[in-house]
């Protein structure tokens, strides 16, 4: 898999994990469960329920079945609306019409490029920086690819690890945009 497709696939995995987490939380709350009580009802660790709801874990088949049993919903219901990871399809199936990138996406892409550039300058690998700010590698990859909008708290942690300030990310991304006539 090319690095570009690998990054796109990582971003898709993160989207799927987050969509699943949101769905799980909705069904749990509807069923009057706390994270703790659902954990006890399923004999999963409560930390695992928290991680799933925050989109920081992709559940396995058994976990899905255990959750559907406890929440008394069908697997179809729990997985409803989740996107299919298209990046794993064959190249032929993936080809589509080119599209124009929105301004917001362009800004996210520039911010991601800036973070990647500073990270590489500071000799951080992607997994090492992800570990340092305590997020999954796929999440940081999605941020660097402009697929995910990092919250300010994450920007602060990234800045601390990279020895800079959050505002530097923004100003450098703006400068990069000017260079690229965006």
């Amino acid at each position: 898999m090319s690095p570009e497709r690998e990054r796109a696939y990582a971003a898709e995995r993160l989207k799927i994990a987050r969509a699943f987490g949101k769905r799980l939380r909705t069904l749990r709350v509807n069923d009057d469960h706390s994270q703790d009580s659902l954990a006890r009802a399923t004999r999963l660790h409560r930390t695992q329920i928290s991680l799933l709801e925050r989109g920081e874990r992709i559940p396995g088949l058994l976990t899905i079945l255990i959750l559907t049993d406890a929440l008394q919903v069908s697997p179809n219901n729990l997985l409803r609306g989740l996107p299919t990871p298209k990046e794993r399809r064959s190249l032929g199936a993936k080809q589509g019409s080119p599209h124009v990138m929105s301004s917001e996406k362009q800004q996210l892409r520039l911010l991601g490029q800036t973070i990647r550039s500073i990270r590489e300058k500071e000799y951080f690998t992607l997994p090492a920086l992800a570990a340092a700010v305590n997020i999954p590698t796929i999440q940081l990859q999605a941020v660097e690819d402009g697929e995910l909008d990092p919250d300010y708290e994450l920007l602060i942690r990234l800045a601390e690890c990279l020895g800079t300030r959050p505002s530097t990310f923004i100003t450098r991304a703006e400068a990069l945009g000017k260079q690229q006539n965006i």
């Binding site: 703790d36 874990r57 590698t137």
Partner: protein, 140 residues
């Protein structure tokens, strides 16, 4: 300046849970290349995750895996493990926010199930963890 820091026995259970959660991140990263074609030609795909997993494994060996009936204070090397513990504990403390908010609902469910309530324990552990993080931050 001391090169070590102390994890008090009272927060060891939560520090262990925090480390195990981070270990899950490393395991997930390791799992991804395992299912790819041509994985055998790319040992480099596994290097970072393996190193991270081994680092966390050593850490759990040092703080113990929770098999003892009584937790004891643990002293650790600060340059080697300080940041790992601080980051993991900080993320774990965020999970406590939800557990504390939902503590009454949890207790209602526990009572229905004939189990003892645990709100007081959840609040105490959350507070202890935050206190530990506050003490560790200036050292790391």
């Amino acid at each position: 300046m001391s090169r070590t820091f102390l994890i008090p026995a009272r927060v060891l259970l939560d520090v262990r849970e925090a480390i195990l959660s981070v270990m899950g991140d490393a395991a997930m990263d390791l799992q991804e290349p395992v299912i790819r074609p041509e994985r055998e030609r790319h040992p480099e795909w596994f290097v970072e995750s393996r190193a991270r997993l081994e680092h966390l494994w050593r850490l759990l060996d040092l703080i113990s895996w929770g098999e003892a009936s009584q937790e004891v204070d643990v002293e650790l090397d600060q340059p080697e493990y300080g940041l790992t513990i601080l980051d993991a504990a900080t993320h774990h403390a965020k999970r406590y926010k939800t557990w504390e908010e939902e503590a009454d609902a949890t207790d209602e469910w526990l009572v229905e199930e004939g189990e003892p309530p645990r709100k007081a324990e959840t609040l105490r552990r959350g507070a202890d963890l935050r206190e530990f993080i506050s003490a560790l931050e200036p050292v790391v």
